[in-house]
């Protein structure tokens, strides 16, 4: 199997889907002439032409709304936000239009739009450009929210997102675009939305995570194994809808859970996961559930402070040791 970067896997997904279905177009800042700010749309303009690969002005609310309208009119738009931080300007279209119109029109409209772009901290992008947007969108009924951790999942899930008839918020990662590389099948495949995957099997604790923290958790698990603690790493992949059965199945096996994610602690994905676990697997718990998050502060610019605020593998390992009473 060829090894692809997270970036190239996304590019393949876009290209394959656009080949397959000419109702699909991509719109966003610099997606065309510049091949995308992070080169995810590289070569697409050349291949599909400017009708299907549209450079947009710096006006997120406008082109997000265009995407929603186009989706309601029968096209399948992919709206790229240069980063999810800029999508805050467009959040009205995502939440008040895309997420709701199917219900508000009594089912007359579907809104098959994909909003995508990188989220989370990269390096020294400071308070306004280092945010993890998953909880903002996971909160909203009517949206599906995906945050893949591997190239393989990124490709399979983006293809599923494009084919889905509901609006999907697809959160990538600037850091992972280049750093994450893994085997991606040559033949076509789709990764189902709403299904978590065990990325590492273990018996002693379940680490529930998604996106970047999957990699931190895997490296924590490796370190823990040397101390005889076998951690199971469960990658949520989709954070709305949550794959609660997969979480419960794993926790029932291990009796312990650590929930790890990059963003702030208040009302985040982990808070919901903890709630699901305590309700559905109460009688299987051997310890209170631990959470690993970013610190509850706006991201500082200073490198040393950024390092303190951002969760890493060591934090995950410490949380695991704590719930394992070791």
């Amino acid at each position: 199997m060829p090894v692809l970067s997270y970036r190239d896997a996304l590019n393949e997904a876009l290209r394959e889907e656009m080949e397959r279905d000419d109702s699909i177009f991509i719109i966003g800042e610099e997606v065309g002439e510049y091949d995308g700010a992070y080169k995810v749309s590289k070569g697409l303009l050349e291949r599909f032409g400017e009708w299907r690969v549209r450079d947009a002005p710096i006006a997120e609310l406008g082109f997000a709304g265009l995407g929603v309208g186009a989706a309601m009119s029968g096209l399948r738009p992919i709206v790229e936000f240069m980063t999810w931080n800029f999508a805050l300007l467009a959040i009205d279209e995502v939440i008040n239009s895309a997420a709701k119109l199917h219900q508000m029109s009594g089912g007359q409209y579907t809104v098959p739009v994909v909003f995508r772009g990188p989220g989370g901290a990269a390096l020294q992008l400071a308070a306004q450009h280092s945010q993890s947007p998953e909880p903002w969108y996971a909160y909203v009924p009517g949206l599906k929210v995906i945050a893949p951790a591997t190239a393989k999942d990124a490709k399979g899930l983006l293809k599923s997102a494009i084919r889905d008839n509901d609006p999907v918020v697809f959160i990538e990662s600037e850091i992972m675009y280049s750093l994450v590389k893994d085997e991606v099948p040559e033949e076509e495949y789709l990764t189902p939305i709403g299904k978590a995957e065990v990325k590492r099997e273990g018996t002693d604790v379940t680490i529930v995570c998604h996106s970047k923290l999957v990699h931190q958790s895997l490296s924590a698990a490796q370190a823990l194994a040397q101390d005889g603690i076998e951690a199971e790493v469960l990658d949520l992949r989709t954070v709305r809808p949550l794959d609660v059965p997969a979480i419960i199945e794993s926790v029932e096996k291990t009796n312990r859970a650590v929930v790890a994610e990059e963003g702030w602690p208040m009302c985040n994905i982990g808070a919901q996961v903890v709630d699901d676990i305590q309700r559905e697997a109460f009688d299987y718990l051997d310890a209170p559930i631990a959470r690993v998050n970013g610190l509850d502060v706006p991201m500082p610019y200073a490198k040393n402070l950024e390092k303190i605020v951002t969760p890493n593998a060591q934090h995950v390992a410490e949380a695991v040791r704590h719930v394992c009473y070791s």
């Binding site: 602690p265 051997d286 209170p288 959470r291 605020v309 934090h315």
Partner: protein
Amino acid sequence: MATKVVMAQLSPTMEEGKLIEWKVAEGDAVAQGDVVAEIETDKANMDVEALGGGVLRKIVVQAGETVPVGALIGVIAEPEEAIDDLIAAAGATPVASAEPAEGPPSGTPADAVTPSAAAPVEPAVSETTSAVVTPAPDAPAPRAPVAAAPATPAQEPTEAASGRTKASPVARRIAAERGLDLSRLAGTGPGGRIVKADVETALAGAPPAVEAPSVAAEPAAPSGPPTAPSAPAEASTPVAPLESRVEEASQMRKAIARRLAQSIGPVPHFFLTTEIDMGRALELRADINARSSDGKIGVNDLLLKATAEALNRHPAVNASWEDGSVRYHGSADIGIAVALEGGLITPVLRDAGRKGLRQISVEARDLIGRARDRKLTPEEYQGGTFSVSNLGMFEIDEFTAIINPPESGILAIGQTAEKPVVADGEVVVRKRMRVTMSCDHRVIDGATAAEFLQTLQRMMENPAVLLV
């Protein structure tokens, strides 16, 4: 040589004790056996005696402080002896320095209750008090795991100050499925929490799990002279029929159950004794037996009948504790303790509350006879709701019997003997019989048992009602 003064374990359930008062001051001379301090246990205030002589060199635990059993509370040594290491070592591992100063109980049972026992109604207990792992929403998250309390050493007291056994949900579930009593395990988790590994170790048979006190009433062989069936008599005053039901116990009832069970074992017993004037019962028996060619009625039959009637009137006595619920039994199934060579057995007289004296007499005689011949089937000696044990034939005046779980009460019947009694200002000789009831305090309170005994006494003293 230095002598440690430690928080002695003065009852099997005692996990910690509060130092009430030092009786000697630092620097005072102390002889072996002197009372040096008073401590409050979960049941009573007790004196702590010095195990060795010297000078009370150091008071480690001040009056008013509560420490675990085994913790060093003071040091007695020669005036110049070095004791710093001893204190330092104890400070590091307060629980490990177990060299119990046996303070013989001289405390007063009257002030027996700890504050928590005096307030049986507790708020819902939360598990969140110890080692919080999850950062509070506004707490720095990645640090939280670092900052969180380290796992606590093993063998801490399992029971929190609230009296709740701290155990993880999965430990509770496995224990419940396997019938393991968690209160008998030592937890190795934070704050003494019993975790899955502790339960699995216990189930694997590793630690010396304390044997649950076994069943059994006191040996007894009630005598029931033979008799043949005649018209079954119905009970006297109409009462509501017994009803089968399970009622969720109130918080107070659960708290009482928990506290009392912790104090003296799985079934917290208490005992009440009354004396019954048997004159009229004996007359009635003689009367019946003189006029009947059928089998004779015994005093024991009258007692069984009266017990059944009293159970009809006091359903709270005919009940069982079921972990948070009280099961009220729909029939009075009275176990009759029968002594056997090397043991005893309690055949059960079924539904005695709906049977007449003659029928009770016949069935009791049959059951007792076959019990002695060891010919009972299991259904015949299992599933009683209340028991009666009679040692009268051994000329025992009174005794206490141990409850046969899950029953909640047992009557211990003494001999009927002539005794001087004051009646109308004069000393007269009467035939009297002592009856002691043992009760499971989780289900039956003192007043409930007293009313039951009063009913029994009145029936035995006016036995004609037993024929109606």
